[in-house]
């Protein structure tokens, strides 16, 4: 034993990669089959932790989307809309069970493609994704109790675009309710993280889901834009950045198509003086460093009562020093790789602005791998409401710390943002928790915890964080229409 080196530095404990087989290239999943893209274009997907090329992904173009939307329309009209709810439910149960059987494979694949730690994909992403299918399977034959009238109907073909931060989980949030409510789907995964969606396509085949009910068209922003602009889509759902969300909304304005948007956030995590301080520290860490801070509802603004600020920051820094940054495949890794070079650049740019504007940065002294995209957990103190790092979404492991003196001031500062997705409140006083949760303008309020999710709990935002809810009973509503509401007719042009 040497004096200064911790003898209990955990030896590497990597998860086995042998569970997954990654093809050298992938086709699009249309009408129940993998088909080569008509665009003839492909792009590489890499492991952000090593920059190793994992595979080539098809870049879906307009013609590919036409095929996918047509397949979805045909499946909707000929099979899916005619199936009773209990039969749709059986398919969802079957998908859930097949995913469960291959859970570890999904976890490894997600970690390789996304860069997030295996501990998180294994314990959070994949189990939650599966839960969404089980949960919605149960709703499929009970939709008349969803609160949208006695005879709720599906929209038809739903277009969905999902982000790269929780690839399979976001797929589940979108696909499970759409199928349970009787819609068919054309889904575009994020450009950097398509692999688990393509494995999910295989699950759809294995579950013998009728062809065309789920179509997965991989690609980049142009593919997404074509899907948004497609006339054959009856309803649209998007999760991603506020910037793209606004563009989608502009593009769909006056089309009459219902849209749900789940966009960015700048979540406030409010710690009152009477909080259980050690657990608050844990909650702060969970709030901002979970998934490298690539979380739309991340608690990226810490609002701490001024009289406990120094003590809390001291405890927080000591806790952050214990965060294990490195190989995402290691079972002991807490913080993995940043998902892409572009995202890393954005994080660097914003943190530099923080220093230029006079905030004080602190990082632990941890080693980073030489290859891949990495960023140390960072906290900024001396942040004021006018700093960019207090207003803009960083989407990385960077926490901005602000202080408040009174409960009213805490709420005022927490609500002083264009966003309104999530907030956390830490206090041992029940009355204060209830009061704060009424006053905060955010779709999700966590009391004495942060970043906890459940399929039964609706999720969504206020203001620039989007509209519509996902999960729970509320999450079904955007996928249903009253029988009295005329459905948007697809334009003739699509049904060639």
């Amino acid at each position: 034993m040497t004096e200064n080196v911790n003898p209990f530095a955990y030896a590497p404990a990597p998860e086995s990669r042998e569970l997954v087989s990654i093809e050298s290239s992938y086709d699009l999943f249309i009408n129940g089959k993998f088909v080569a893209p008509k665009s003839k274009k492909r792009f590489v997907t890499i492991n952000p932790a090593t920059e190793e090329v994992l595979s080539k992904i098809s870049l879906g173009g307009k013609d590919d989307l036409d095929l996918a939307v047509k397949a979805a329309r045909r499946a909707y009209e000929s099979v899916w809309s005619k199936l009773p709810g209990k039969e749709r439910g059986k398919y969802l149960y079957r998908i859930a069970r097949l995913m469960q059987e291959r859970a570890r494979e999904f976890a490894v694949l997600e970690t390789l493609d996304n860069g997030k730690p295996i501990r998180e994909t294994r314990d959070t992403d994949i189990p939650l994704a599966i839960q969404h299918f089980f949960y919605h399977a149960g709703w499929a034959d009970k939709l008349e109790f969803a609160g949208n009238g006695a005879n709720p109907r599906a929209h038809g073909v739903v277009g969905q675009i999902i982000p790269w931060n929780f690839p399979l989980l976001m797929l589940a949030w979108k696909v499970a309710p759409a199928l349970a409510t009787g819609n068919t789907v054309v889904l575009k995964p994020a450009e950097t993280t398509s692999l688990t969606a393509l494995l999910f396509a295989q699950i759809c085949i294995d579950a013998e889901l009728p062809p065309g009910v789920v179509n997965i068209v991989t690609g980049d922003g142009s593919t997404g834009a074509s899907l948004v602009a497609h006339n054959g889509v009856d309803k649209f759902a998007f999760t991603g950045s506020t910037e793209v969300g606004k563009a989608i909304n502009r593009s769909l304005a006056s089309s009459g198509k219902p849209v749900t948007l789940e966009l960015g956030g700048k979540g406030a995590n409010i710690v009152f003086e009477d909080a259980a301080i050690d657990q608050a520290v844990e909650g702060i860490v969970q709030g901002i460093f979970f998934n490298q801070g690539h979380v739309c509802c991340a608690g990226s603004r810490l609002l701490v009562q001024e009289n406990i600020h120094d003590h809390l920051i001291e405890k927080l820094e000591r806790r952050i020093e214990k965060i294990r940054v490195g190989d995402p495949m290691d079972k002991n890794t807490d913080l993995g790789a940043i998902n892409s070079k572009e995202q890393l650049q954005k994080i660097i740019e914003l943190t530099q602005s923080g220093e230029i504007e006079g905030a004080k940065a602190w990082q632990p002294d941890c080693a980073l791998p030489s290859r891949g995209f990495w960023f140390r957990p960072t906290i900024f103190t001396n942040v004021t409401g006018a700093h960019r790092i207090a207003r803009e979404e960083i989407f990385g492991p960077v926490l901005s710390v602000l202080t408040f003196r009174t409960p009213q001031e805490a709420i005022e500062k927490a609500n002083n943002t264009p966003y309104g997705l999530a907030a956390g409140v830490w206090s041992e006083k029940g009355s204060r928790l209830l009061w704060a949760s009424r006053e905060l303008k955010a779709g999700v309020i966590w009391a004495n915890t942060y970043n906890k999710f459940d399929a039964a709990s609706p999720f969504g935002g206020y203001k620039e964080s989007g509209w519509g809810r996902e999960g729970g009973r509320h999450g079904l509503l955007p996928y249903l229409t009253h029988s009295s509401t005329p459905r948007v007719k697809p334009s003739k042009g699509v049904r060639k």
Partner: protein, 333 residues
């Protein structure tokens, strides 16, 4: 109850408990109660989630070998039965000294822990087999319930020390604690500490299974540390639940915070329910990540156990030989 604390001489250059109490602003019943009740609360859901998260740490290869040897050297090898005999205690002492007679590379355990009347037998046998360095710990103060007069508790402690115990595992008066008579609990610890003088280390058993709430565990930890405990210990082993991970986590957090505030490093001893190597390694992970690597030392962390030692030895053999041997390859005491 005395309004002013008696001045107590402490071993190892520790500040006297009355100085410590003054540092914490504690002078009487009221100020002690105020102090304990203004400690930050513990959120049950949060602490259990953190403990569960740390339980997923995967300890492999050289870290595992290191952890197994460290855990062996931290074991307080214990027998606390009405049926204890001299023969049983002697064989336990041999086990403590040479846990695996076929492999002299195995470290000796932290201590042998017995009832008061077995202390002399354990001490003389350990000395006879050349294991002078292994301390004998005695459970004291009317263990396990603590339901006796102060006079008896003091006498119990003095007896054990005179018979050769260099570690005293005392129990707190849980009844008094739960009734809110914190000062009475405090004064008992101070008095026992005085009895220990410079001759014995004091481990204070909180019996967390009877204190029930995590807030109580934190309060009792601070109470014991300020009153002069060298170690805070979870349980007697006679009550379930005993050393649960969240309880150990809170106690480790308490010793860490106490150290940051006073510069005094207090040890922690979970006891009861730690039976497998996996359990023991999980405890070491808690030590490493909550209190810090400075506590990864038998001076500051002990595990009260009996069956655990054999499981550690079997894991050790497995790491050495590459296969699991049957339990017949380790000795049964």
């Amino acid at each position: 109850m005395a309004k002013v604390l008696r001045k107590v001489e402490m071993n190892q250059g520790r500040t006297s408990s009355s100085d410590l109490a003054t540092d914490f602003g504690i002078s009487d019943d009221r100020s002690l109660e105020l102090f304990l009740k203004t400690l930050p609360g513990v959120d049950q859901v949060g602490v259990e989630a953190r403990a569960a998260e740390l339980a997923t740490r995967s300890i492999k290869k050289e870290s595992k070998s290191w952890a197994i040897d460290m855990a062996i050297s931290m074991v307080d090898l214990t027998t606390l039965e009405g049926a204890d005999t001299e023969g049983k205690v002697r064989s336990l002492c041999n086990k403590a000294h040479r846990p695996d007679p076929t492999d002299l590379g195995v470290p000796h355990v932290g201590a042998v822990c017995v009832y008061n009347d077995m202390v002399g037998i354990a001490r003389s046998h350990l000395d006879a087999i050349g294991a002078k360095e292994i301390p004998v710990a005695a459970v004291s103060t009317a263990f396990p319930s603590g339901r006796a007069s102060m006079e008896v508790k003091l006498r119990d402690t003095r007896d054990a020390i005179e018979a050769g115990a260099s570690e005293i595992d005392m129990v707190i008066d849980r009844g008094a604690f739960l009734s809110g008579y914190y000062k009475s609990v405090f004064d008992e610890i101070v008095a026992i500490k005085k009895e220990c003088g410079g001759r014995a280390h004091l481990k204070v058993i909180l019996e967390t299974g009877e204190l029930v709430t995590y807030d109580n565990v934190r309060r009792a930890s601070y109470l014991a540390m300020i009153a002069g405990a060298d170690f805070i210990k979870t349980s007697t082993g006679k009550v379930t639940p005993a050393a649960t991970a969240p309880v150990v986590l809170i106690m480790l957090q308490a010793v860490r915070d106490f150290f940051d505030r006073t510069g005094i490093q207090i040890g922690v001893k979970p006891a009861g329910g730690i039976r497998t190597s996996k359990d023991a390694i999980k405890q070491l992970v808690l030590v490493n990540e909550i209190a810090g690597p400075e506590w990864l030392n038998p001076r500051y962390f002990r595990i009260g156990a009996s069956a655990l030692l054999n499981d550690l030895l079997m894991q050790r053999m497995k790491m050495r030989d590459g296969y699991y041997a049957s339990s017949n390859y380790v000795s049964v005491e």
